[in-house]
Symmetry: D2
Subunit: 493 residues, 4 copies
């Protein structure tokens, strides 16, 4: 779930017009929602149940996207594709003949999107056909290109027809265009043309491949089940789910691929010595706590962020509460460092993810506790530290403060274990535009007053870098300094 | 989610034949799944958005049943009924004209069921029609009757036609049969005939009512939004969700009802001085932690159960882990009492609730971490206390122990914060039959060996009574002593 | 197919707004399309394939209504009902378990309607349920009541709920209301209250019945397959279709019915010595030519009408053409009487019955030959007598004249073998209102000029009476003298 | 409707197993139903309502096929295709945005098929796509190839993928394969390779074309609405329906086509001086009586055939009856020639075309009059000449004779106005195999006894040639001499 999505799920917001849908491809007619998605790819020279393995792997990545799911399967020299709106397990139930989906390779995608264009042609994996209606190439992409519109215009001038509104199709069509150079060269040429964030898995009718952009912005890990069975996935939890061993992360600028004649997976560096600048927000919010990305344990980062914010901004209080789910490990870290007891007293309704229909204005104002309900007796009269992973537009925080105040909390000390978000992401995360990011429009002091809390602190960028152990991640949304130059259209933000 | 449901969700079990579906009405041809469900009822003399209020209220009770949802609405002297398979919010989206569902009263039901009979005629609220096809009576029921088959046979002999396989229809038809005595008398007569556990909300075309069995086995709370707007619901969280104030619990043997001529809600005691014997498992597992039942805070009971099991069976260990979600508060209580640090290192995939389709045997054996995945680095080499709310058939516990052992855990000390379950419930909870309840078939020592743990302890019934502060709850599944005599057919268990 | 329907099918008319939908129940909110329908009923004490028999019987009545079809079947003391939009054979294909529809009795209905209200609740057979949702009474009706609104208002005041917009439901509810008097008495009471045209077949859970209004306006014949198997149907062709022998027509004012204890069909005269005044238009247009109604062969009447119009208005001509299908027998009679050769040179597209969608005005004017196309070589330069069954609004005739003129016909002598239609029917036939009936608004001479023909003649009422052999039929649409007084609302026409 | 179809509709036959489904492509795995279909094509340089025109044109060809309908439309350099099961007017109602279907050109197809393979991929028009999923070529075909399997095997070896089971796709793929030679050359090459009967209309993204096989076996006429708007259709009635003027028939071996640069329709003779050998059965049965094919009026041929059979085999009788619909003109011709009165006393149920479901054997035997019902009073005691267009398997004739005998007819003189059918067609008409053709297995005398008639005569081939005015038609089914050599697989018949 993206920041934006999280934001949207605030109960009241759904009833407003949404002026904040953002579109990188502003110049074109296309509507390109940016996506935070999960991808999964598997190749085996053995006979293997790719149906079950992709089901398990994608299920483990379900948190990266709940709108739609799809797979392409290579079997007997043919590619079959299926994709449907809905959750992973529901998608797999729509497959009537699992045996038709057990081939040598499978790629899969679980899609998150912000709004509107829930058309099947935007679901992934994408595919290209030959003139006899046979699929010859299929890819699944996580990320966002910054020069998609430019490339699209060029390709359209050459007669290429685009069906989807997603920039992922630009990658597909570029590889397709250069396919007669050979697969590896076609991917290389494509990577040299496209800019932005992309982790991709794909297949032709007899080859499997995966590649990652020059900054490694979106994650992509490599694993193996046996010496003839390889897996690529957005997060290591997908490897755990299928009993695969983690091998390493795919390198920035690397293509891994199979060949027709030789066994095993080959590697080719399109560009050597790229520096990995993986998105820091993957650790703060997106990735599952049990994932390991670039050798860093996500849960550990979250606990440390709680410890660090205590160091950075200590406070006297009776209890510490984490906003479920991603604020909880930080709250436990804070408790450990401070000695202030952690209390799990903010209860989240587990059946969220679907919107409410609320016909009357009166009702919109009444509902405050639907998604988070406090255990009043535990917090009444107490001095409370409340820890959340981030503050985006500020409405969730404001509402939470109201809930706590209504329970008779004595003091509220709000801690965000990420720095203030001052700029939108255009590398694969769907965030509101700048004028809606509250930290882009208020100082911390102003925000403290706006929220009505007794103290407010954000983890500093320096402290975040310290925890992550490197200054090389992408911190664009906190610093407005991005590893990739923005496309022209981004000026419009 | 019931014990059974939880049990069923064990990853491997789904692939076995399920011999354990239980049916109280063994003598008849009907298939009566027992249900643990959520009910909600609202009556107002004001013009009020009953559509939104019932949506919010039922959403807060979603954890009590996810199979189907339905409502009956009283509007302009007519009753309209809608019910569909699926979750609460999805159900409400199927309503095209919300304004048609804003009347003076609404009753709703969210249904859990074990198996098979997902026919619409088993969804609630149930209703009775007159000869012109108009609904004149509608009820929603949580619980299970012990003399349903007997009463059904009697009524059928009188010409009554049953459409559903649920015992709830017996309640409906009995009230319908006696309706010409007046509503209150009809309910009284019905309560005097039926035996077992029942919390019921209902309506005629101009009256609202709710009633609870003589032991108050299933919960039912009363709240108010204003002096002309009353709410009854299975748990207090439904009151929180709609901004209603908690008034009190409906008493065992009490009918509350509205009348045509006078304003307000009236109360009538069918039987005076009943002793409340609410199900103890509601506190242990079913109810939401932020609910308050019979003036007892559920979360508090769970934390105390962790503290108490420490007192009852202390152990030296490095960390304490709770099995999410219901084992977590107990683990925190255990940590607090023992000083052993609590670590949230067992990660639950939040998208469970849907079954996997696994065509090959090989795959069934490979999947172990799909629903619970540990953070290996946190537990490797450690002495671990693992706390779960209960042990039913033992398969989940056994699998969990295997996961932990595979991660290199040094010692495993398993604690169940409920006593051993030695007998099935037949008062509204769907449990496996006795021969499948592992504690009915093994001593604690045998079970310790079977699970392969270093120590194993169950909270004693005495300690559970101590925490709950009263010996008057139903502890039937722990003691085989029930507050209601079993029906004849129950002998068959 | 009614006059109106036929009228509507004129190619151009469909593209105009239709201001002429008529509603007898003008005072109420209900929209009561009058229907010309086919009904069928069968009762047997033998085990018999009522599924097939009702299929064949209704198929033979398909020409009386193509909008919807339905049946009620009495089997093992229960009544099952099915009805669907569409043709008879398509309807029967929707029945999955034919054996469930083989009982002791079946009633069926094939429905024609004019417009709009294609809701299932208007399809027949209608049925009434008891409070346990079981069907206890079902009827199928052909005709139209003149005091339906009055009776409906009365019944509604007593609490009866009407679901359909058809006056047929009034008959159902009246019988239901009086059912505790016994079935025969309930029907008698109903017949004494309702006024208008009605042929009805029906059933309770153990009895079959049929009855006909005091004037016998709509047809209803009685047949037998064997001495324990009786059939009632709108036309004798339904008897032919199932191998039943024609016995006699049901008498005006007669009820036929079965009883629980005795075998065979009983008869009861609600009113003795009623004079049969069957609709004369059944012979002219509605009934199939191979039907025998009241002992009169329909085909014979049609041929005789051609002979008679020759006698009434002889003319010199080269060929005589009938407008297919109902004008053809008259043309052959005309040819026989006159010696002028009959030529089948107006070709009808057999796939009519569905409307065209014509988005542009230009196209609407181009299409003239879609439904009737002449064989030009056969008529060019000829003097032609063209014979049609009737003239309603005049548009079909006008268009046909244009088609013939465009082919170079030398003279056109138009003959209608029914008298001028000067008034609407309100006894079961759907006709336009008076201001749209061209003969109500023009003299024959004016009409001759309007159509642009060389001569124009209508069969006189006297001659029609002569052919039919009796002055006792209903000739209301030709004379404005009806056998039943109009309801108050009819004044509005 | 084909001979076979007509045959199949005999009431009893549906209940037997059908061993007679025939498949020309016996060697392959494909199931190739032979089709008698209607095709329609239109090209205009004006802005024109191609939606309405194709609707009207195809509606006029509905008798050539009722299973499915489809169109391809060329608009703004794109081709859009739609096809659905069902009748023409129903198909057009499925089009939501008629304006999207108004382009410069349209081709359409109405499909008849024998059995089973009602898959959409067998509906026409067929189309070929490029690699970007755009349609670049579309065709509609009436006829049957004799070397389809051979060509298909060749093309598959080259990598062409076939999706349909129809031989029409061979034509599509051959044109597609040679498209880089230019459209005209591609069609020429295709015509030089394919053998059999084919009338084809088609389009690329900017050109329209039509062509006909070297023997002109299936009809194809050319018309014009104005000097920039051309139409090709199976029969001239389609021109009448849209107000187009008949120009001429497309010649055997001719391609007509449009070009990008010049206005108007061009013609190219792939083979000069082909002799037209149009199917004689088109005149006898298939074509509408108001059609003119190769300058011969169909109705006239049918009347003459009645006159001729009287000359060939005069008989004394009281009345002459035609089997509706196609036997009626011949009966009128017979009457005219003989002076024996024509009586329209065999009534056809107009709602045929759908099969019955008859669960019991007893019922199958009872139904005899469902589709044809005689007017008993008109034929009882009479000597009757009954005229039908042909005799295929003999079951319809036998049943008809039984019906007439049951009515008390005195003498039956059966006349077929086509010669005995002794061989199957494999050039586009679906006929049973030889062992099911009754005239291939019985002499006329044997057949007379089998049918139980007083006399039996078939029009002689010589007399048929005389009426048609030429010995050059295809009389294959009467003579077993075909204008095209059979494919190898045909030996199997």
């Amino acid at each position: 779930m993206s920041i934006h999505q999280k934001y949207k799920e605030d109960y009241l917001d759904q009833f407003k017009d949404r002026p904040y849908e953002r579109n990188v491809m502003k110049k074109g007619s296309s509507d390109s929602p940016e996506e935070e998605c999960g991808i999964f790819g598997l190749y085996s020279e053995n006979e293997i149940d790719t149906f079950s393995l992709s089901q398990f792997g994608l299920f483990a990545l379900q948190h990266r996207g709940q709108e739609a799911c799809g797979i392409s399967v290579m079997k007997d020299g043919k590619i079959v594709n299926l994709k449907e709106e809905g959750l992973v397990l529901d998608f797999f139930k729509t497959i009537r003949e699992p045996s038709n989906f057990m081939g040598n390779s499978v790629i899969g995608h679980t899609r998150y999107t912000t709004a509107g264009d829930k058309k099947k042609y935007n679901f992934q994996p994408f595919y290209a056909k030959n003139e006899y209606d046979q699929i010859i190439l299929s890819i699944a992409h996580n990320g966002n290109l910054t020069n998609a519109q430019e490339l699209k215009t060029e390709l359209e001038a050459e007669g290429v027809v685009f069906r989807a509104t997603s920039d992922s199709e630009v990658i597909l069509r570029l590889i397709q265009k250069h396919l007669d150079l050979g697969l590896r060269a076609a991917i290389k040429t494509t990577m040299e043309k496209i800019e932005g964030a992309y982790s991709v898995v794909g297949m032709t009718r007899n080859k499997f491949f995966a590649f990652r952009d020059f900054n490694g912005i979106r994650p992509l890990v490599l694993g193996a089940i046996d010496e003839k069975t390889f897996v690529c996935a957005s997060e290591s939890v997908a490897l755990d789910a299928i009993g695969a061993q983690y091998v390493r992360d795919i390198l920035p600028g690397e293509i891994v691929y199979t060949s027709e004649n030789e066994s095993g997976l080959k590697s080719f560096m399109v560009k050597e010595n790229c520096i990995n600048k993986i998105c820091s927000f993957e650790y703060i919010y997106f990735a599952r706590p049990d994932s390991i990305l670039e050798n860093i344990n996500v849960h550990e980062i979250r606990e440390k962020s709680g410890e660090k914010i205590w160091e950075q901004a200590p406070v006297e209080a009776d209890i510490v509460i984490g906003v479920p789910d991603s604020g909880v490990p930080a709250a436990i870290g804070f408790s450990k460092a401070s000695g202030i007891p952690f209390r799990p007293v903010l209860i989240k309704n587990r059946y969220i993810g679907r919107s409410f229909i609320v016909p009357t204005q009166e009702m919109r104002e009444r509902i405050v506790n639907l998604k988070l309900n406090p255990i009043v007796s535990e917090i009444k009269g107490k001095r409370v530290v409340i820890i959340d992973d981030s503050v985006v537009r500020g409405t969730t925080a404001k509402r939470l403060v109201k809930i706590l105040r209504d329970c008779g909390v004595k003091e509220i000390h709000f801690r965000s274990v990420s720095p203030p978000i001052i700029a939108p992401c255009y590398l694969g995360i769907d965030t509101p535009s700048k004028d809606e990011l509250i930290s882009a429009n208020m100082t911390v002091d102003e925000l403290k007053d706006y929220l009505g809390v007794d103290s407010l602190e954000f983890l500093s960028v320096e402290n975040l870098k310290g925890i992550l152990g490197s200054p090389n991640h992408c911190f664009g949304c906190f610093t407005e300094i991005y590893p990739v130059k923005r496309g022209e259209e981004s000026v419009l933000f």
